[in-house]
Symmetry: C2
Subunit: 259 residues, 2 copies
């Protein structure tokens, strides 16, 4: 397996840093090839702007058009091209980050915003009566799997079905379905550590053991059963889920998971 | 009314830029005071790191602790302090941004990550048997209102109840509830423009009219009825919504809206 770890935390000695290091050593010891994108160490540029698109950028920047043109002509900046190449190289992508304000840190969002360009991650494939582009189950990154490894300050109960933050599956849906599944990546159930504002050195051995176990079983873990877009579940082009496809009583984001 | 507009788009001539300019002129013409945080023009630093917390940052960075300490001692960087002051000055905060990968652009997330520090936006208030800090309806920014003005590339049907992206209310919940309502801001229903990948100059007059109308009725618009945390709807400290509080059949994020 070829594993890319995309890691976003400013402190190497943090829990996130330890989990990243453990992922590297565990996967390498198991015989896998590992590459790491340590976004803070790379001083990753987070904000999309005209400088991302080389000489192809026109007087008036249009992010989708100009990123697609730069992708097509090889004019994207070297940092972005390197990340796209890593994504194409990888079979498995592990994202290690703290949940800040219910989503990823800005530096990681900036990795998505800049690397997931038009014609690479979106704007791929034809539109027809039976197909609305290649996305949600198809796309440039099909054949790859990803896993979110997330540390969460608050307790698990706050992220349960009736918890005030909403169910963790819903909190992560815009990332897991909207960012990862969109360009074709299958998404494994996340590894979530709760209450990490109160995690101590004494808790770490148990945490490490659980994480190693997840890492060593990545290849046999079933992905989340998101519905594929172009294979009969949705009306085209409204992309409404057809009536009656879901289990009774299911609604919201959960509609887009089978069974 | 004192209105702060937080704006995140790299292109001044974009639809987002036009909507921001229109918000300034419309609100000023109506007699309101307006300030703008134009994050791209400010070259806003998106990534939280130790440099944000001055000399208070220890050898090992802990983001919550160190941001709280820097807030308490006035050691936050001037850019962050200026934004906190603007938030305290404002009655109304308008966020103007494109929906990129189902959430805000990285530069705006970086504004949240850096400005919403511990002891300012979270870690506020006491914990007791009846109170879990001051948040979700209470907090430093209570008494203020906010509105998201969002441009969305895809069509509205994709964001409807059965649409493949999930309902727009759920897509925006982590921002509206998780980021804005958390420190006490009341959130008005969003102004969402769909299909903006295909919006042309000919469409703009109608768009502008609708936006002006929203801007001129901000003060009389009812906020989203998110449930307050410490006023009987939730068990403390699990923060589970008490059984039977919701309309039959409602689940997920929607549980946390009354009525």
């Amino acid at each position: 397996m070829k594993a890319l770890i995309v890691y976003a935390h400013p402190e190497p000695k943090s829990l996130n840093g330890s989990l990243k290091d453990l992922a590297v050593s565990t996967l390498e010891r198991a015989g896998h090839e590992v590459r790491v994108s340590d976004l803070y160490a790379m001083n990753w540029k987070a904000a999309v702007d005209a400088a991302d698109f080389g000489t192809g950028a026109a007087d008036r920047l249009r992010v989708a058009r100009d990123s697609g043109r730069a992708f097509d002509t090889g004019a994207l900046t070297p940092d972005v091209r390197a990340e796209q190449e890593k994504l194409l190289w990888a079979d498995m992508i592990v994202f290690q980050f703290p949940l800040w304000w219910y989503t990823m840190p800005a530096i990681l969002k900036g990795w998505v915003d800049r690397v997931f360009t038009y014609h690479f991650a979106y704007g791929v494939g034809e539109h027809s009566d039976t197909k609305y582009g290649e996305r949600f189950g198809e796309g440039t990154l099909a054949g790859r799997k990803a896993l979110l490894s997330v540390t969460v300050g608050g307790p698990e109960s706050h992220y349960s079905a009736r918890g005030i933050n909403g169910p963790i599956d819903d909190v992560l849906f815009p990332i897991q379905h909207g960012i990862l599944y969109y360009p074709g990546i299958e998404v494994l159930p996340p590894f979530v550590l709760y209450g990490t504002d109160r995690t101590t050195a004494e808790d770490y051995p148990d945490v490490a053991k659980a994480w190693e176990q997840r890492l060593l079983t990545l290849e046999s873990t079933e992905p989340i059963a998101f519905r594929r877009q172009n294979f009969g579940d949705y009306e085209i082009p409204s992309l409404h889920l057809k009536e009656g496809r879901e289990p009774a009583g299911r609604s919201g984001f959960g509609l887009h998971v089978r069974g």
